[in-house]
Protein backbone atom coordinates (compact mmCIF):
# COMPACT_ATOMS: atom_id res chain seq x y z
CA UNK A 1 0.00 0.00 0.00
CA UNK A 2 1.35 3.46 -0.84
CA UNK A 3 1.30 6.35 1.61
CA UNK A 4 -1.78 8.22 0.36
CA UNK A 5 -3.99 5.16 0.23
CA UNK A 6 -2.99 4.14 3.74
CA UNK A 7 -3.74 7.68 4.91
CA UNK A 8 -7.15 7.49 3.24
CA UNK A 9 -7.74 4.10 4.85
CA UNK A 10 -6.88 5.53 8.28
CA UNK A 11 -9.22 8.48 7.70
CA UNK A 12 -12.07 6.15 6.72
CA UNK A 13 -11.59 4.07 9.84
CA UNK A 14 -11.59 7.17 12.04
CA UNK A 15 -14.75 8.36 10.28
CA UNK A 16 -16.56 5.08 10.96
CA UNK A 17 -15.58 5.08 14.63
CA UNK A 18 -16.57 8.71 15.14
CA UNK A 19 -19.87 8.23 13.34
CA UNK A 20 -20.80 5.31 15.61
CA UNK A 21 -19.64 7.19 18.71
CA UNK A 22 -21.82 10.16 17.76
CA UNK A 23 -24.78 7.80 17.23
CA UNK A 24 -24.19 6.28 20.66
CA UNK A 25 -23.66 9.49 22.62
CA UNK A 26 -25.76 12.10 20.83
CA UNK A 27 -29.04 10.90 22.42
CA UNK A 28 -27.47 10.88 25.90
CA UNK A 29 -25.86 14.27 25.33
CA UNK A 30 -29.17 15.79 24.27
CA UNK A 31 -30.86 14.61 27.44
CA UNK A 32 -28.01 16.07 29.50
CA UNK A 33 -28.19 19.43 27.71
CA UNK A 34 -31.98 19.63 28.01
CA UNK A 35 -31.85 18.74 31.70
CA UNK A 36 -30.91 22.41 32.15
CA UNK A 37 -33.94 23.64 30.25
CA UNK A 38 -37.63 23.66 31.11
CA UNK A 39 -38.58 23.12 27.47
CA UNK A 40 -41.50 20.70 27.29
CA UNK A 41 -39.77 18.54 24.68
CA UNK A 42 -36.16 17.63 24.08
CA UNK A 43 -35.02 19.57 21.01
CA UNK A 44 -37.57 22.35 21.50
CA UNK A 45 -36.59 25.99 22.11
CA UNK A 46 -34.08 25.90 24.93
CA UNK A 47 -35.03 29.03 26.85
CA UNK A 48 -33.00 29.94 29.94
CA UNK A 49 -30.30 27.79 31.45
CA UNK A 50 -31.78 26.59 34.72
CA UNK A 51 -31.55 23.98 37.46
CA UNK A 52 -35.34 23.92 37.78
CA UNK A 53 -35.64 20.28 36.70
CA UNK A 54 -33.22 19.22 39.42
CA UNK A 55 -35.23 20.91 42.15
CA UNK A 56 -38.41 19.51 40.61
CA UNK A 57 -36.86 16.04 40.65
CA UNK A 58 -36.49 16.21 44.43
CA UNK A 59 -40.16 17.09 44.77
CA UNK A 60 -41.36 14.25 42.55
CA UNK A 61 -42.03 11.55 45.13
CA UNK A 62 -43.08 8.95 42.55
CA UNK A 63 -39.87 9.26 40.59
CA UNK A 64 -37.77 9.27 43.75
CA UNK A 65 -39.52 6.20 45.10
CA UNK A 66 -38.85 4.44 41.77
CA UNK A 67 -35.18 5.33 42.20
CA UNK A 68 -35.24 4.17 45.82
CA UNK A 69 -36.87 0.84 44.88
CA UNK A 70 -34.35 0.31 42.10
CA UNK A 71 -31.45 0.85 44.52
CA UNK A 72 -32.96 -1.25 47.33
CA UNK A 73 -33.70 -4.15 44.98
CA UNK A 74 -30.33 -3.80 43.25
CA UNK A 75 -28.17 -3.60 46.36
CA UNK A 76 -30.03 -6.24 48.38
CA UNK A 77 -30.32 -8.76 45.56
CA UNK A 78 -26.68 -8.21 44.53
CA UNK A 79 -25.55 -8.80 48.13
CA UNK A 80 -27.65 -11.96 48.38
CA UNK A 81 -26.49 -13.14 44.95
CA UNK A 82 -22.85 -12.57 45.94
CA UNK A 83 -23.21 -14.65 49.11
CA UNK A 84 -25.21 -17.37 47.41
CA UNK A 85 -23.07 -17.41 44.27
CA UNK A 86 -19.74 -17.47 46.10
CA UNK A 87 -20.67 -20.27 48.50
CA UNK A 88 -22.16 -22.13 45.52
CA UNK A 89 -18.94 -21.73 43.52
CA UNK A 90 -16.90 -23.16 46.41
CA UNK A 91 -19.29 -26.09 46.78
CA UNK A 92 -19.51 -26.78 43.05
CA UNK A 93 -15.72 -26.58 42.82
CA UNK A 94 -15.36 -29.58 45.14
CA UNK A 95 -18.08 -31.67 43.45
CA UNK A 96 -17.38 -34.75 41.39
CA UNK A 97 -17.30 -34.08 37.69
CA UNK A 98 -20.68 -35.53 36.77
CA UNK A 99 -22.54 -33.76 39.56
CA UNK A 100 -20.67 -30.56 38.79
CA UNK A 101 -21.70 -30.52 35.15
CA UNK A 102 -25.32 -31.21 36.13
CA UNK A 103 -25.34 -28.27 38.55
CA UNK A 104 -23.57 -26.07 35.99
CA UNK A 105 -26.29 -26.86 33.44
CA UNK A 106 -29.03 -26.06 35.96
CA UNK A 107 -27.37 -22.75 36.80
CA UNK A 108 -27.33 -21.81 33.10
CA UNK A 109 -31.10 -22.25 32.66
CA UNK A 110 -32.05 -18.68 33.55
CA UNK A 111 -29.05 -17.32 31.62
CA UNK A 112 -29.99 -18.87 28.27
CA UNK A 113 -33.76 -18.90 28.67
CA UNK A 114 -35.92 -16.16 27.16
CA UNK A 115 -36.42 -13.61 29.92
CA UNK A 116 -40.17 -13.50 29.43
CA UNK A 117 -40.37 -17.25 30.16
CA UNK A 118 -38.26 -16.86 33.31
CA UNK A 119 -40.44 -13.92 34.34
CA UNK A 120 -43.70 -15.80 33.99
CA UNK A 121 -42.19 -18.86 35.65
CA UNK A 122 -41.68 -16.66 38.73
CA UNK A 123 -45.20 -15.34 38.30
CA UNK A 124 -46.70 -18.84 38.22
CA UNK A 125 -44.60 -19.83 41.24
CA UNK A 126 -46.02 -16.92 43.23
CA UNK A 127 -49.58 -17.80 42.20
CA UNK A 128 -48.88 -21.41 43.14
CA UNK A 129 -47.38 -20.54 46.55
CA UNK A 130 -50.10 -18.04 47.35
CA UNK A 131 -53.22 -19.79 46.07
CA UNK A 132 -52.40 -23.52 46.13
CA UNK A 133 -49.86 -23.94 48.95
CA UNK A 134 -51.56 -21.05 50.81
CA UNK A 135 -48.32 -19.50 51.99
CA UNK A 136 -49.07 -15.95 53.14
CA UNK A 137 -46.98 -14.25 50.45
CA UNK A 138 -47.74 -11.88 47.61
CA UNK A 139 -46.09 -9.81 44.90
CA UNK A 140 -43.98 -7.32 46.83
CA UNK A 141 -40.61 -5.63 47.08
CA UNK A 142 -39.28 -8.81 48.69
CA UNK A 143 -40.53 -10.92 45.84
CA UNK A 144 -38.68 -8.67 43.38
CA UNK A 145 -35.52 -8.94 45.49
CA UNK A 146 -35.79 -12.75 45.46
CA UNK A 147 -36.41 -12.97 41.70
CA UNK A 148 -33.51 -10.61 40.98
CA UNK A 149 -31.26 -12.66 43.26
CA UNK A 150 -32.18 -15.83 41.37
CA UNK A 151 -31.46 -14.35 37.93
CA UNK A 152 -28.17 -12.67 38.92
CA UNK A 153 -26.59 -15.46 41.04
CA UNK A 154 -25.44 -17.49 37.97
CA UNK A 155 -23.43 -14.46 36.83
CA UNK A 156 -21.70 -14.28 40.23
CA UNK A 157 -20.84 -17.98 39.87
CA UNK A 158 -19.46 -17.29 36.38
CA UNK A 159 -17.29 -14.51 37.84
CA UNK A 160 -16.04 -16.31 40.96
CA UNK A 161 -15.39 -19.79 39.49
CA UNK A 162 -12.40 -18.82 37.27
CA UNK A 163 -10.68 -17.22 40.29
CA UNK A 164 -11.39 -20.31 42.36
CA UNK A 165 -9.76 -22.50 39.76
CA UNK A 166 -6.55 -20.49 40.08
CA UNK A 167 -6.32 -21.21 43.81
CA UNK A 168 -4.50 -24.16 45.33
CA UNK A 169 -7.08 -26.96 45.39
CA UNK A 170 -5.87 -28.15 48.80
CA UNK A 171 -6.35 -24.80 50.51
CA UNK A 172 -9.68 -25.57 52.12
CA UNK A 173 -8.76 -29.10 53.17
CA UNK A 174 -5.43 -27.92 54.60
CA UNK A 175 -7.25 -25.39 56.72
CA UNK A 176 -9.75 -27.97 57.95
CA UNK A 177 -7.01 -30.52 58.61
CA UNK A 178 -5.29 -27.95 60.78
CA UNK A 179 -8.39 -27.78 62.94
CA UNK A 180 -10.41 -24.84 61.59
CA UNK A 181 -14.11 -25.55 61.22
CA UNK A 182 -15.73 -25.37 57.76
CA UNK A 183 -17.22 -21.93 58.38
CA UNK A 184 -13.98 -20.55 59.79
CA UNK A 185 -12.08 -22.04 56.85
CA UNK A 186 -14.48 -20.45 54.40
CA UNK A 187 -14.30 -17.03 56.01
CA UNK A 188 -10.62 -16.82 56.94
CA UNK A 189 -9.01 -18.85 54.15
CA UNK A 190 -11.21 -18.92 51.04
CA UNK A 191 -13.10 -15.65 51.04
CA UNK A 192 -10.08 -13.32 51.39
CA UNK A 193 -8.64 -14.94 48.28
CA UNK A 194 -11.92 -14.50 46.41
CA UNK A 195 -12.60 -10.92 47.57
CA UNK A 196 -11.69 -9.34 44.21
CA UNK A 197 -13.88 -11.73 42.22
CA UNK A 198 -16.72 -11.22 44.72
CA UNK A 199 -16.58 -7.46 44.21
CA UNK A 200 -16.73 -7.94 40.41
CA UNK A 201 -19.61 -10.40 40.86
CA UNK A 202 -21.47 -7.95 43.09
CA UNK A 203 -21.00 -5.13 40.57
CA UNK A 204 -22.21 -7.33 37.73
CA UNK A 205 -25.26 -8.52 39.69
CA UNK A 206 -26.06 -4.93 40.68
CA UNK A 207 -25.95 -3.60 37.10
CA UNK A 208 -27.99 -6.54 35.80
CA UNK A 209 -30.62 -5.86 38.46
CA UNK A 210 -30.72 -2.13 37.62
CA UNK A 211 -31.14 -2.96 33.94
CA UNK A 212 -33.90 -5.51 34.42
CA UNK A 213 -37.32 -4.74 33.07
CA UNK A 214 -39.19 -7.90 32.05
CA UNK A 215 -38.98 -9.82 35.35
CA UNK A 216 -39.80 -6.66 37.33
CA UNK A 217 -42.70 -5.71 35.07
CA UNK A 218 -44.39 -9.12 35.30
CA UNK A 219 -43.65 -9.70 38.98
CA UNK A 220 -44.69 -6.31 40.37
CA UNK A 221 -48.21 -7.39 39.40
CA UNK A 222 -50.73 -5.58 41.60
CA UNK A 223 -48.01 -4.57 44.06
CA UNK A 224 -47.84 -1.01 42.74
CA UNK A 225 -44.03 -0.97 42.88
CA UNK A 226 -42.09 0.90 40.23
CA UNK A 227 -38.41 0.75 39.43
CA UNK A 228 -36.81 3.27 37.09
CA UNK A 229 -37.34 0.88 34.17
CA UNK A 230 -41.04 0.24 34.77
CA UNK A 231 -41.61 3.89 35.68
CA UNK A 232 -40.25 5.17 32.36
CA UNK A 233 -42.02 2.39 30.46
CA UNK A 234 -45.45 3.18 31.83
CA UNK A 235 -44.74 6.92 31.60
CA UNK A 236 -43.84 6.85 27.92
CA UNK A 237 -46.72 4.54 27.05
CA UNK A 238 -49.19 6.81 28.78
CA UNK A 239 -47.50 9.83 27.13
CA UNK A 240 -47.03 11.40 30.50
CA UNK A 241 -43.48 11.18 31.68
CA UNK A 242 -42.55 14.25 33.77
CA UNK A 243 -39.71 16.24 32.19
CA UNK A 244 -37.57 16.04 35.34
CA UNK A 245 -36.72 12.53 34.17
CA UNK A 246 -34.01 14.35 32.18
CA UNK A 247 -32.40 15.52 35.44
CA UNK A 248 -32.53 11.99 36.86
CA UNK A 249 -31.06 10.55 33.62
CA UNK A 250 -28.24 13.10 33.71
CA UNK A 251 -27.38 12.20 37.31
CA UNK A 252 -27.34 8.50 36.42
CA UNK A 253 -25.18 9.03 33.31
CA UNK A 254 -22.67 11.09 35.30
CA UNK A 255 -22.53 8.59 38.19
CA UNK A 256 -22.03 5.62 35.87
CA UNK A 257 -19.38 7.40 33.80
CA UNK A 258 -17.46 8.53 36.90
CA UNK A 259 -17.63 5.07 38.48
CA UNK A 260 -16.34 3.42 35.29
CA UNK A 261 -13.51 5.91 34.77
CA UNK A 262 -12.39 5.66 38.41
CA UNK A 263 -12.60 1.87 38.22
CA UNK A 264 -10.44 1.77 35.08
CA UNK A 265 -7.85 4.17 36.51
CA UNK A 266 -7.57 2.05 39.67
CA UNK A 267 -7.35 -1.12 37.57
CA UNK A 268 -4.61 0.33 35.34
CA UNK A 269 -2.64 1.47 38.39
CA UNK A 270 -2.91 -2.00 39.92
CA UNK A 271 -1.80 -3.61 36.65
CA UNK A 272 1.21 -1.29 36.54
CA UNK A 273 2.09 -2.16 40.14
CA UNK A 274 1.84 -5.86 39.33
CA UNK A 275 4.05 -5.36 36.29
CA UNK A 276 6.64 -3.62 38.46
CA UNK A 277 6.60 -6.45 41.00
CA UNK A 278 7.08 -9.10 38.34
Amino acid sequence: MNKTSSKVYLAIRWAVLLLVLVAIYLPLLMIIVYSFSTSQSVGGSFGDFTFRLYSKLFENTKMLSALKNTLIIGLTSAALATILGTTASVGIHYMRRKLRSAVDTASQITVVNAEIVTAMGFFLLMIFLRDTVKVPVNFSLWWLIITHTVITTPYVILTVTPRLQQLNPNLLEASMDLGAGPMKSLFTVMLPQLAGAMVSGFALAFTLSLDDFVVTNINSFGANIDTISTYIYSGIRKKGIPIEIRALSTIIFVVVLTALIVYNIVKNKKAKKMAKKA
Binding site: R13, V20, T87, V103, A114, I157, F213, F221, S229
Partner: protein, 269 residues
Protein backbone atom coordinates in the same frame (compact mmCIF):
# COMPACT_ATOMS: atom_id res chain seq x y z
CA UNK B 1 -11.94 -44.72 59.55
CA UNK B 2 -14.71 -44.78 57.00
CA UNK B 3 -17.39 -43.99 59.55
CA UNK B 4 -15.33 -41.09 60.79
CA UNK B 5 -14.93 -39.69 57.30
CA UNK B 6 -18.70 -39.75 56.70
CA UNK B 7 -19.14 -37.39 59.64
CA UNK B 8 -16.58 -34.95 58.31
CA UNK B 9 -17.98 -31.84 56.67
CA UNK B 10 -17.73 -31.97 52.91
CA UNK B 11 -16.99 -28.67 51.15
CA UNK B 12 -19.66 -29.50 48.58
CA UNK B 13 -22.20 -28.65 51.29
CA UNK B 14 -21.47 -24.97 50.67
CA UNK B 15 -23.49 -25.32 47.47
CA UNK B 16 -26.63 -26.58 49.27
CA UNK B 17 -28.30 -23.19 49.81
CA UNK B 18 -27.86 -22.41 46.14
CA UNK B 19 -29.14 -25.84 45.07
CA UNK B 20 -32.21 -25.33 47.24
CA UNK B 21 -32.85 -21.89 45.73
CA UNK B 22 -32.38 -23.28 42.20
CA UNK B 23 -34.78 -26.13 42.87
CA UNK B 24 -37.52 -23.85 44.22
CA UNK B 25 -37.10 -20.81 41.98
CA UNK B 26 -35.84 -22.28 38.71
CA UNK B 27 -36.93 -25.92 38.46
CA UNK B 28 -40.38 -25.61 40.06
CA UNK B 29 -41.39 -22.67 37.81
CA UNK B 30 -40.44 -24.71 34.73
CA UNK B 31 -42.57 -27.59 35.99
CA UNK B 32 -45.43 -25.15 36.60
CA UNK B 33 -45.13 -23.85 33.03
CA UNK B 34 -45.40 -27.44 31.83
CA UNK B 35 -48.38 -28.19 34.10
CA UNK B 36 -50.28 -25.05 33.12
CA UNK B 37 -49.53 -25.64 29.44
CA UNK B 38 -51.37 -28.98 29.56
CA UNK B 39 -54.15 -27.84 31.86
CA UNK B 40 -57.56 -26.72 30.68
CA UNK B 41 -59.62 -24.05 32.38
CA UNK B 42 -61.48 -26.78 34.27
CA UNK B 43 -58.21 -28.26 35.55
CA UNK B 44 -58.19 -31.36 33.33
CA UNK B 45 -55.40 -32.54 31.06
CA UNK B 46 -55.66 -31.09 27.57
CA UNK B 47 -53.78 -30.27 24.38
CA UNK B 48 -56.11 -27.35 23.72
CA UNK B 49 -53.61 -24.67 24.74
CA UNK B 50 -51.13 -25.95 22.17
CA UNK B 51 -53.84 -26.33 19.53
CA UNK B 52 -54.72 -22.72 20.21
CA UNK B 53 -51.09 -21.63 19.79
CA UNK B 54 -50.72 -23.35 16.45
CA UNK B 55 -54.12 -22.42 15.02
CA UNK B 56 -54.36 -18.85 16.27
CA UNK B 57 -53.38 -16.81 13.25
CA UNK B 58 -52.55 -13.75 15.32
CA UNK B 59 -50.06 -15.63 17.50
CA UNK B 60 -48.40 -17.27 14.52
CA UNK B 61 -48.07 -13.91 12.78
CA UNK B 62 -46.57 -12.46 15.94
CA UNK B 63 -44.10 -15.32 16.14
CA UNK B 64 -43.15 -14.76 12.50
CA UNK B 65 -42.81 -11.01 13.06
CA UNK B 66 -40.62 -11.66 16.09
CA UNK B 67 -38.25 -13.86 14.12
CA UNK B 68 -38.26 -11.24 11.34
CA UNK B 69 -37.40 -8.24 13.52
CA UNK B 70 -34.90 -10.30 15.54
CA UNK B 71 -33.10 -11.48 12.39
CA UNK B 72 -33.12 -8.04 10.78
CA UNK B 73 -31.93 -6.15 13.88
CA UNK B 74 -29.30 -8.77 14.67
CA UNK B 75 -27.97 -8.68 11.09
CA UNK B 76 -27.71 -4.87 11.04
CA UNK B 77 -26.12 -4.78 14.48
CA UNK B 78 -23.69 -7.53 13.50
CA UNK B 79 -22.45 -5.65 10.43
CA UNK B 80 -21.91 -2.38 12.32
CA UNK B 81 -20.41 -4.07 15.39
CA UNK B 82 -18.09 -6.19 13.25
CA UNK B 83 -16.82 -3.13 11.36
CA UNK B 84 -16.21 -1.24 14.62
CA UNK B 85 -14.58 -4.25 16.30
CA UNK B 86 -12.37 -4.84 13.26
CA UNK B 87 -11.20 -1.22 13.23
CA UNK B 88 -10.69 -1.13 17.02
CA UNK B 89 -8.58 -4.29 16.82
CA UNK B 90 -6.36 -2.84 14.08
CA UNK B 91 -3.38 -0.52 14.48
CA UNK B 92 -3.17 2.26 15.60
CA UNK B 93 -6.53 1.95 17.43
CA UNK B 94 -5.50 -1.21 19.25
CA UNK B 95 -3.22 0.80 21.53
CA UNK B 96 -5.98 3.20 22.57
CA UNK B 97 -7.59 1.20 25.36
CA UNK B 98 -9.96 3.99 26.37
CA UNK B 99 -11.38 4.17 22.85
CA UNK B 100 -12.79 0.62 22.99
CA UNK B 101 -14.16 1.33 26.46
CA UNK B 102 -16.17 4.26 25.07
CA UNK B 103 -18.10 1.87 22.84
CA UNK B 104 -18.82 -0.56 25.68
CA UNK B 105 -19.80 1.96 28.38
CA UNK B 106 -23.53 2.13 27.43
CA UNK B 107 -23.78 -1.46 28.68
CA UNK B 108 -23.77 -0.08 32.24
CA UNK B 109 -26.46 2.53 31.66
CA UNK B 110 -30.05 1.50 32.27
CA UNK B 111 -31.42 0.39 28.88
CA UNK B 112 -34.79 2.05 29.42
CA UNK B 113 -33.08 5.41 29.94
CA UNK B 114 -31.07 4.86 26.77
CA UNK B 115 -34.21 3.99 24.82
CA UNK B 116 -35.89 7.09 26.23
CA UNK B 117 -32.90 9.19 25.10
CA UNK B 118 -32.86 7.59 21.65
CA UNK B 119 -36.59 8.09 21.26
CA UNK B 120 -36.22 11.78 22.13
CA UNK B 121 -33.48 12.18 19.52
CA UNK B 122 -35.43 10.35 16.81
CA UNK B 123 -38.43 12.56 17.54
CA UNK B 124 -36.24 15.63 16.99
CA UNK B 125 -35.11 14.34 13.58
CA UNK B 126 -38.71 13.56 12.76
CA UNK B 127 -38.76 9.77 13.09
CA UNK B 128 -41.86 8.79 15.04
CA UNK B 129 -43.04 5.41 16.26
CA UNK B 130 -42.49 2.97 13.41
CA UNK B 131 -41.10 -0.42 12.50
CA UNK B 132 -37.73 1.05 11.60
CA UNK B 133 -37.60 3.10 14.78
CA UNK B 134 -38.01 -0.16 16.72
CA UNK B 135 -35.23 -1.78 14.67
CA UNK B 136 -32.97 1.21 15.41
CA UNK B 137 -33.91 0.82 19.09
CA UNK B 138 -32.90 -2.85 19.08
CA UNK B 139 -29.58 -2.13 17.35
CA UNK B 140 -28.87 0.75 19.75
CA UNK B 141 -29.75 -1.29 22.82
CA UNK B 142 -27.82 -4.47 21.98
CA UNK B 143 -24.81 -2.89 20.24
CA UNK B 144 -22.33 -3.16 23.17
CA UNK B 145 -23.35 -6.79 23.76
CA UNK B 146 -22.69 -7.60 20.10
CA UNK B 147 -19.45 -5.61 19.98
CA UNK B 148 -17.74 -6.97 23.10
CA UNK B 149 -17.41 -10.69 22.16
CA UNK B 150 -16.38 -9.90 18.55
CA UNK B 151 -13.84 -7.31 19.69
CA UNK B 152 -12.42 -9.70 22.30
CA UNK B 153 -11.87 -12.42 19.69
CA UNK B 154 -10.38 -10.05 17.10
CA UNK B 155 -8.05 -8.27 19.50
CA UNK B 156 -6.69 -11.55 20.86
CA UNK B 157 -6.36 -13.20 17.47
CA UNK B 158 -2.97 -14.65 16.64
CA UNK B 159 -1.72 -12.27 13.92
CA UNK B 160 0.60 -14.94 12.45
CA UNK B 161 -2.40 -16.51 10.64
CA UNK B 162 -3.02 -13.24 8.84
CA UNK B 163 0.67 -12.73 8.08
CA UNK B 164 0.90 -16.29 6.76
CA UNK B 165 -2.10 -15.70 4.50
CA UNK B 166 -0.56 -12.49 3.15
CA UNK B 167 2.85 -14.15 2.72
CA UNK B 168 1.23 -16.93 0.74
CA UNK B 169 -0.14 -14.38 -1.71
CA UNK B 170 -3.73 -13.72 -0.60
CA UNK B 171 -4.90 -10.13 -0.99
CA UNK B 172 -6.46 -8.29 1.99
CA UNK B 173 -10.03 -9.15 0.90
CA UNK B 174 -9.22 -12.85 0.51
CA UNK B 175 -7.39 -12.83 3.83
CA UNK B 176 -10.39 -11.27 5.54
CA UNK B 177 -12.93 -13.76 4.17
CA UNK B 178 -10.77 -16.88 4.36
CA UNK B 179 -8.83 -16.26 7.58
CA UNK B 180 -10.02 -13.41 9.81
CA UNK B 181 -13.76 -13.96 9.46
CA UNK B 182 -13.73 -17.75 10.11
CA UNK B 183 -11.38 -17.29 13.07
CA UNK B 184 -13.66 -14.67 14.60
CA UNK B 185 -16.73 -16.89 14.28
CA UNK B 186 -16.92 -17.86 17.99
CA UNK B 187 -17.20 -14.15 18.85
CA UNK B 188 -19.83 -13.62 16.16
CA UNK B 189 -21.90 -16.56 17.41
CA UNK B 190 -21.69 -15.37 20.99
CA UNK B 191 -22.69 -11.85 19.91
CA UNK B 192 -25.66 -13.17 17.96
CA UNK B 193 -26.80 -15.30 20.89
CA UNK B 194 -26.60 -12.23 23.16
CA UNK B 195 -29.08 -10.48 20.87
CA UNK B 196 -31.30 -12.79 18.83
CA UNK B 197 -33.15 -14.60 21.63
CA UNK B 198 -33.31 -11.64 24.05
CA UNK B 199 -35.19 -9.69 21.34
CA UNK B 200 -38.08 -12.16 21.77
CA UNK B 201 -38.61 -10.65 25.22
CA UNK B 202 -37.87 -7.03 24.26
CA UNK B 203 -41.46 -5.86 24.18
CA UNK B 204 -40.49 -2.68 26.00
CA UNK B 205 -38.64 -1.51 22.88
CA UNK B 206 -41.34 -2.44 20.38
CA UNK B 207 -44.05 -0.85 22.53
CA UNK B 208 -42.07 2.35 23.13
CA UNK B 209 -40.60 2.79 19.65
CA UNK B 210 -42.67 0.71 17.25
CA UNK B 211 -46.07 1.35 15.70
CA UNK B 212 -49.19 -0.77 16.29
CA UNK B 213 -48.01 -3.44 13.87
CA UNK B 214 -44.56 -3.81 15.38
CA UNK B 215 -44.46 -6.43 18.07
CA UNK B 216 -42.54 -9.33 19.57
CA UNK B 217 -43.96 -12.50 21.05
CA UNK B 218 -42.94 -11.41 24.56
CA UNK B 219 -45.65 -8.74 24.39
CA UNK B 220 -48.27 -11.43 23.75
CA UNK B 221 -47.10 -13.56 26.68
CA UNK B 222 -46.91 -10.54 28.98
CA UNK B 223 -50.45 -9.51 28.00
CA UNK B 224 -51.74 -12.98 28.91
CA UNK B 225 -50.42 -12.51 32.45
CA UNK B 226 -51.02 -8.82 32.92
CA UNK B 227 -54.66 -8.84 33.97
CA UNK B 228 -56.29 -10.60 36.89
CA UNK B 229 -58.14 -13.12 34.72
CA UNK B 230 -55.08 -13.87 32.62
CA UNK B 231 -55.01 -16.95 30.43
CA UNK B 232 -52.20 -18.79 32.20
CA UNK B 233 -52.73 -21.99 30.20
CA UNK B 234 -52.35 -20.30 26.84
CA UNK B 235 -49.44 -18.19 28.14
CA UNK B 236 -47.69 -21.29 29.44
CA UNK B 237 -48.15 -23.21 26.18
CA UNK B 238 -46.71 -20.25 24.32
CA UNK B 239 -43.80 -20.09 26.77
CA UNK B 240 -43.23 -23.79 26.27
CA UNK B 241 -42.99 -23.24 22.51
CA UNK B 242 -40.49 -20.43 23.21
CA UNK B 243 -38.48 -22.80 25.42
CA UNK B 244 -38.23 -25.23 22.51
CA UNK B 245 -37.09 -22.40 20.19
CA UNK B 246 -34.44 -21.35 22.76
CA UNK B 247 -33.26 -24.96 22.92
CA UNK B 248 -33.04 -25.29 19.11
CA UNK B 249 -31.22 -21.96 18.73
CA UNK B 250 -28.77 -23.05 21.44
CA UNK B 251 -28.11 -26.39 19.75
CA UNK B 252 -27.54 -24.71 16.39
CA UNK B 253 -25.23 -22.15 18.01
CA UNK B 254 -23.23 -24.83 19.80
CA UNK B 255 -22.94 -26.94 16.65
CA UNK B 256 -21.81 -23.93 14.62
CA UNK B 257 -19.20 -22.80 17.11
CA UNK B 258 -17.91 -26.36 17.50
CA UNK B 259 -17.55 -26.71 13.74
CA UNK B 260 -15.81 -23.39 13.32
CA UNK B 261 -13.57 -24.00 16.32
CA UNK B 262 -11.96 -26.79 14.31
CA UNK B 263 -10.84 -24.47 11.52
CA UNK B 264 -7.34 -23.54 12.70
CA UNK B 265 -5.94 -27.07 12.68
CA UNK B 266 -2.63 -27.50 14.41
CA UNK B 267 -2.74 -23.91 15.63
CA UNK B 268 -2.52 -22.69 19.21
CA UNK B 269 -6.27 -22.72 19.53
Amino acid sequence: MKAKKAKVFRPTAFAFPYLLVTAIFVIVPLILVLVYAFRGSDGSFTFNNFRQVFTDKETLTQLGKTIGIAALSTAICLVIAYAVAFILASQPFKKMAILALLFIIPMWINFMLRIFALQSLLAVIGIGKSYWAAVIGMVYDFFPYMLLPIYTVLVNMDKSYIEASRDLGANPVQTFFKVTLPLSFPGVISGISMMFMPIFSSYAITKMMGDMNTTVIGAKIASLFENVYGDYGYGSALSFVLLIIVFIVMLVGNALSRRTAKVPKGGKA
